[in-house]
Structure formats: C-alpha cells, structure tokens
Symmetry: none
DNA sequence: TATGAATGAGTGTTCATTCAT
DNA sequence: AATGAATGAACACTCATTCAT
C-alpha cells in the first residue's frame, strides 16, 4: 500500500500559493496548479475535494503558521498584563511577516476572493480560530487599555500596517533594517492605546 | 469606442459595480454585466474596449468621486497648515465613505483583482492621480508633522480604518452615529503625528 | 441583424435524436452533438440553455409530432362515442409510429434517462400535455367502456405494443404489410374493453 | 477476477442496484458503488472486469431471480396444456414483481442503457436465457393458442403491464390488494388468446 | 449604435481504468 | 484480497472577444 504522499499535498499548496502571489487568487486554476506541480489535473482532486477546499487549506495553513510563530499561550495568560500581551501579538505577526513577506498577501488575496459571498461558512470557521486575538482585543477595549472602537478596526490597523510594510520590502523600496518593529509599534500603540493603558 | 449614449456607459459601470459588491470582482463577466443592463453582450465592447478597461473605468470613477468629495484645492493650498490639510483629507474620505459604504470595497476589490500582476500599467496610471495625497503626506513626513514611516503605510492606515468602519456599518453592526469622525481621527492622529505636529 | 438560425436549432435537435437512436440517450454529449452538426460545442448553448433543456426539447418535439398526427379535437369531441375515440387515438399513434419508427424509442429513451429523478418538474410539464389522453381513458374506465384497471396500465399497453412493433420493423424482422393495424387493435381492444364496450 | 469473498460481490451488485433505482442506470459509477459498499474503487475491479460487466451481472441476477420464482420445469413440461403454462409464466412474474417491485425497473433500466448499441453481444447472451419463454410463446402462436403476432409483442405486453402495476404500487397509488392477478390476467388473456385457446 | 451569432480556449469536476504495493 | 495513487479522457458549462449585419 503506497503511503499517502504528504509531500504532494504540500507541493500542491505551495504551487497554489505561488500562483496567488504571482497572478492573484482569481487566477488560480487546477490546470495551472497541476502543471506547476508536474502532476495531472485530476490528481489535485485526490488531495483536495474542491478548488475552494484547496484555497481554504492554503489560507488555513498560512494562518496556522502565523499563529505558531507567536506564542498563543502567552496571549491567553491572564497573569501577563494586557498591553504586554498586545505587544507580543503584534511582535509575533511582525516578525513572521518580515520573514515571510508573502504571508499576509496570501491571506488577503484568498479572503478577498472567497469572502465576498459574505457568509461563506468555511471562512467563518477559520475566522473562529482567530477568536483568541479578538477576545484579547475585546478585553483590552473593555478594560480601557485600548480605545473604544470596534475591535476589527484595531485588528485591521495592525494587519494593514504590517502588510504594507512587507509589500514595500518585497518591492525593495527599502531594507528591513530601515524600519524597526519599535517604529511601527510606537506609531500604532500611540494611536490605539486607551485612557487606562499605563 | 466610447460614443454617444453616455447613459449606457454609466449603466454598464453601475452594473459592474453591483456585481463586484455582490459577488466579488473576480465574478464580473461581460455576460452578467450585459444581462444586468439589458443589452447584448457585444454592446459592452462599444463602450469599453476590454473587460480590463471596464474594470479600470469603474475603479477610476470611484476614485474620482472620492476626490471630488474632498476639496483638492485645499489640499494643495500651502497657506493652510499641514495638520489641517491632513485632517481635511481624512474628513473628506470619511464622510464620503460613510455616505457610500460600497465605495472603498469597490476600490479594494478591483485593486486586488488587477493589481496582482505587479506592474499592470493601467493601474499605475491611476495611482498617478493619487499623487496629490501622496505628495501632501510626504511633505508632512519631511516636515516632521507625521512620523517618519513610508507614506503608503500612513495611507493604508487611513484607508483600512475607514473601510473597516464602513463594512461594519453595512453589516449593521452598529449605527453611523455610534462612532463619530472625531473618534477615528483622534485615534489615527495620535498614532501618526510626528514631533513637529503641533 | 442576422436572423436567429432556426435551421440550426432543428439541426441540433436532429443530431441529438440521431445519437440517442444510435447510442442511447445516456451517450448524448454536447461535444458529440456539436461535432455532428458541424458547429462548435459552445454554440449549442446559444440555442439550448442546458443539456437537459436540449433533451427535453427533443422529447417535446416528438410528442408534439405524434399528437399533431392524431386529431386531438376529435379525442375531446363528446359527440363521438368513446370506443371510437379510443380507436382513433390508437390509430393515430400507430400510423405515426410506423411511419417514424424511431419516434417511440426516442421518447422512451429520454424518459428513462431523465425521468428517474422521479419528480423532474420538466418532464411533469410535458406529461401534462398528455392529460388529454389520460382524461379520455379515465372517462372510458368510468363508463365501463374499458376495464377497471389504472389508466396508465391501459396506456402502457398501447405504447409498448406499438413500440415493439416498430422496433421489429426497424430491425427488418418483417414488413409493415405483414401486420395491419387491425391485427394489433383487435388484440388490444379484446383485452381492454369493458362490460359496457358495445 | 471474481474470487473469494462472495459476500462482497453481492454487496457490490446490491449497491449498483440501489443506485440504479435511485438515480437511474446512467448514473452508476464505480466511485459511487465503491463508496456505497465502503470499499476502495479499485476493489470493484477484482470482482467485475468492467463497469459493463457489473451492470450485466446485476441484470442477469435479476432475470435469474425472476425465473427461479417461476417453475421453469413446468414451462417446458409438454404434458401441461399451453394455456396453463402461459398462465403459470405470467403468474410467476406477477407474484415476484409484486414482492420485489424494483425488479422490473432494474431490468428495464439496464436494458435501455446497454441495449441501445444494438448488437451488444453481452446482452444478447442474456436474452438467450429467456429463450425458454420465447419458445413457449412461439409454440403457443403456432398452435393458435395465442394470436399470430410477433412473440416479442406478446412478451412486451406482459412485461409492461406488470411493470406499470408495480410502479404504481411503489408510488403508493393504490394497495396491492386493490388489483388481483386475476384482473390483469383476464385483461391480457382476453387480448392475446387465439382461436384455439380453449 | 446595436445585436445575434459564432467560436476557441478555458473552467471545475467526474470517471473508468491501471498499477505498485 | 485489497488499496491508494495516478492518469487521460471526457464532461457540462462559461467566457472574452470578434464579426457580419
């Protein structure tokens, strides 16, 4: 009995990611993916039941990686002060994104392709994983540690700032060392911190 | 191309926009557009030479509207203090976006569909129009009025904050009156303002 | 403005019918149909919105032809005695089927391919057209002119007898003149006629 | 092929039959069958060399069952009068079909799917098995016991009458007790019996 | 200006079948 | 005996685009 080729599943995901980064999520097709991996088109369906399933898996893999980079346990550790935890969260994403500058682009592309149906139950599931951060943020809002605006506004600020930075890096506009995490953190924290921040 | 019946040109754009908002930019097709307008498919090509051309025109129209909402003359008026001009700019976008909550979604969808080729010459053209704001921001950075981070980081913060807000409104998460412009402006300004801000 | 090529619609139907007769309804594919007509595959969708739509149209066309062959007005003419009307009905189908020995095969093949979903609303519509005959038969049952068995049993007897006969003819088992309508009518009528038949 | 595990061979046939009854013979696929049985797709090919082989075996099994229900020995027993033997034949099928209302549908579906090629050598083989009945009928025709029409016309009358009845039962249109065998036998016999019947 | 017709290339997906294990 | 992997061919259907009218 031949082993389920785990390598291939990953290679398919990698090919998909590569296409997304090069041509956009809308340009992903099973033909292109298969051609890139060097397998037959129908083979894709051995590892993913759908194109949606494939895209979703790439999305989930990317989110899992980001979360693995940060230390989730710390984020829920109530013995750590909220501002510290928020900083840890941002630091985690930032470091990962700078190391993997395609990561956030990937996430955003897939989200914008699939999320439009508004109520796509699959993406909802994934979002659920992110609830840890959302919960953390909501806590911080309630405690007055960060400003009283909708939490997804806070989150989108973090995301778009870091994403834009990594895009700039990828385009070679400047060097990673030109702007430190502190620079961005400072900017953001000055903006979002609430009356009870310190 | 692009002849007499201006009404129809607009109706085609409107239909395109509607499809983007409902199903995402990737779902736009000349068939759907034509059906929605009630014309024949080939008629679309009388007004737009391409599907890309069509999408681009919707993109440009939307950006033009936003800019028309703000007072561009003021933004370049050197007799007005930089912080004031920046506020005017944000206010302009904010007011327009709250009034037209689909606007930023439209822009983002098209950008993410077409912009991925990275070097799409058409979108580059459009970006040019936005140089007014970019120039303003760069000026502010140079003067130390806002922090020394890449200007597109500043801009993406403005964009994503307001966009997230309008999405929340459209989803009915809260009422427009629940969060004033001041709230968001305060947050953002606290974040981005530089040493020479006041 | 080019005229909607009515010829082609018919040619597509004809090709479909030919395939059904040669290989069975399950073997119909848009590729085969198009190839047979000498057009591109996608062209089929200009004339029929579906493969189902195409099959259905062939089905309906065949039924319409059969009904046009018989004189429907007579069947509902209450001044004509029931036995006479029943005979007219059988005669109509018989003559048409002998002249067009593929007709009943066509109908049966499509019915067996599409009708399995049991509740296919499209076929139901078509069956509706046949209600005229069903009504006639029910009348005859109620009047004791034909035996008290479910009307569709009566109808299937007529159909299968004639169908088998035409199949035999097509296979060249014997000549049309070898068995007259009278022969079959006699057989059937002796079977189905009720106590109040004469 | 066709090795040890007889249970599995049967289970595959059962699954096939179930699919035919639910979705029609054209919808049968080895994937679906395997899924239904809970085995791997390729396993099917251990028991049947073909999809055609599989379908054929289901067909043959069904015909064998029907024939086993009737007493074949009696049908060829020349000491029994022809009319009696014909009645026995009809009674056998009727009883079996009422008990197994899917039986005739199964046979018909497969016949219509495979038999269209007209000359399918496999089905021809099967028909051979039925020669016993055909011979009986031919004998009856020659003796003037039943009318002088092609024997397959006689046979199709029997088949379609009973089939329609069982379909009605399955659809719940009436109860099995509502129409006795006698009712149908009487109808049919009155129709087909020849000058030398009694 | 407007349209219906036409097409070729493309889409995602399913399938029957084979083969190494 | 049984399976997972693999594939090539087929499928229905959609699309952007062109062209004659």
């Amino acid at each position: 009995m031949r082993k389920k080729d785990l390598t291939k599943e990953v290679r398919i995901q990698d090919a998909t990611a590569a296409i997304i980064l090069k041509e956009g999520a809308a340009a992903v097709s099973t033909v292109k993916v298969a051609k890139r991996v060097g397998i037959s088109q129908s083979n894709v369906y051995l590892y993913f039941k759908n194109k949606d399933d494939l895209l979703l898996s790439v999305y989930q893999r990317e989110q899992a990686r980001i979360q693995a980079a940060g230390d989730l346990n710390q984020l829920t550790d109530k013995t750590i002060a909220l501002p510290v935890r928020l900083r840890l969260y941002m630091r985690g994403i930032f470091d990962y994104a700078v190391d993997h500058p395609e990561s956030l682009t990937l996430i955003q592309q897939i989200k914008f392709l699939m999320g439009q149906d508004d109520g796509n139950p699959l993406l909802a599931t994934v979002q659920g994983t992110q609830n840890i951060v959302e919960t953390l943020m909501q806590e911080a809002v309630d405690a007055g540690v960060i400003r009283n605006v909708p939490v997804n506004v806070h989150m989108s600020l973090v995301f778009s700032m870091i994403h834009t930075h990594t895009l700039n890096l990828k385009r070679g506009l400047y060097q990673p060392t030109d702007y430190s995490f502190e620079t961005f953190y400072d900017l953001l924290w000055s903006g979002i911190k609430g009356p009870a921040a310190d």
